[in-house]
Amino acid sequence: MTDALIALVALPLTAALLALLLPRIATALVIFSGLAITASAIALLYGVNTAGALHYELGGWTAGLGIALRADGLSAILLLMIALVMFAASVYASAYFGKASERAQFWPLWLLLWTALNALLLSGDLFNLYVTLELLGLSAVALAALSGKHAAVQAALRYLLVGLLGSMLFLVGVALLYAGYATLDLATLTQVVKPGPIAWSALTLMTFGLLLKTALFPLHFWLPPAHGSAPAPVSAVLSALVVKAAFYLVLRLWLDVFADIVTPTAANLLGVLGAGAVLWGSWQALRAERLKLLAAYSTVAQLGYLFLFFPLLLALPPGPARDVATGGLVMLALTHGFAKAGLFLAIGIVQQRSGHDNIQELGGMVQRLPLTTFAIALAGVALIGLPPSGTFLGKWQLISAAIATGQWLWVAVTAIGSLLAAAYIFRILGHAFGNQPYPHQAVAVAREEWPALLLTLTATLVLGLAGAHVWTLLENGS
């Protein structure tokens, strides 16, 4: 099973180098390595489910000197989501980028991003996490700037500077922890870390750096322009996966490594920022004039829900009740990943066929692009949180935990956020069903429509109906 751990990093990295050297066969290379990575992610999930958390030391060097790869239930589930979303977006991108020269620039960076995501989720020590964060940031910025348009380059540069600032703060936290405890290994740190100025300042610095990267309100200012001006497949993975990688690290630090250090007050602060994100992000999404900006602001809002869980998890005693709520959090993150990726891919089709993505001018879209409109509607079901989507299960756990711990404020925030989400989704659909004759000749390509459709179907049906497995996997894989 440790082969899967190595394959998840080695496969995309090798493919990235080969795609750079052999641009002519790069598309086939991406599809084949994508299949192999997905198979490895499934094997890893199976292994973690049967044998518990996995661990491998590269080259036999023990933790401290060498690089250790680790996977537990949480990372294995997220790795499978990354593999499926990246694979679907790869198929889409092979049709989206029409020119061979565009594809030749795109594939190496794309595979490098995939490598960074996988390596980040498998890293078990703080310095490798820093390196993978930087690798992820650099490849994401380069991809966001790919169109070369002025707005895209400007947004990408701001994205880069914010990301660098975030990782610098993270690195200071790492240095402080090493000075205090002489280890970078997460598992060792979990045992030795004690409440005190070192741990508090390290946690504050690292959390602040990561919140910048995960775009938690009010640090989200860079996200809408960067996600809104990138090519469609890039926006999809930036919104669905890249911001989640930083969130995953916050989750690891707060719930595992610093579990004895975090205070309810600090968790409440994250909750308040999350509530701000839900309300502000949803409101801005409702007012957005372009589909892509709507989707980007909706990402800001959906990330807010994830942070609402922190005060709830801290108020619940460790045990079954907390595990159930954690499952709800993972479910929300998964559903958003699939739904938002599908939504951005579908928006990309609309934008390519009609040359714009103004919501006001979508009239007649349903006649010309019925499958694409269906995918947008399905993504909407998941973003609002209607049953049978996975979001419904996640929000259900959020609300039950809030009621069980008497924190009614979060219930109100969730209710208002869901209503606003319904409003912005129905605003798109309202225009799409308008009966103006659609002025553009729209011929949809199956390689573009099916990935969007399958991703949104996963969010609304598969995760909702087979959701119980997520909780079992988290329990078996701990």
């Binding site: 500077l161 610098m168 200071v172 240095a175 090493y178």
Partner: protein, 95 residues
């Protein structure tokens, strides 16, 4: 030499604070890129100070390895930032 170690650590913190201040306050692109590099040097100084283990003892190799990796990352990130910035200014010569 305890004092040398503290000199490194404190000047590292000072560089970090100066860099952070400029990165947040200066709107000019080049200044921001430089400020983030100054912050990086501050962190590296801090790590070098951490590596000191006492007179006559060899320094801890792990923080040194971190500094080396950190420099590589900082150089590549700066290169990307400068390339993007040049692209922006080339397109808008009047700015």
């Amino acid at each position: 030499m305890l004092t040398t170690q503290w000199l490194y650590a404190l000047s590292g913190c000072l560089l970090l604070a100066l860099g952070l201040r400029s990165a947040l306050l200066h709107p000019a692109l080049l200044q921001r890129i430089l400020a983030i590099n100054v912050m990086g040097s501050g962190v590296f100084m801090l790590l070098i100070a951490i590596a000191y283990r006492g007179p006559g003892m060899p320094p801890d190799p792990i923080p040194h390895a971190l500094v080396l990796t950190g420099i590589v990352v900082a150089v590549s990130a700066t290169a990307l930032a400068l390339a993007l910035a040049r692209r922006l200014t080339r397109e808008q010569p009047h700015d």
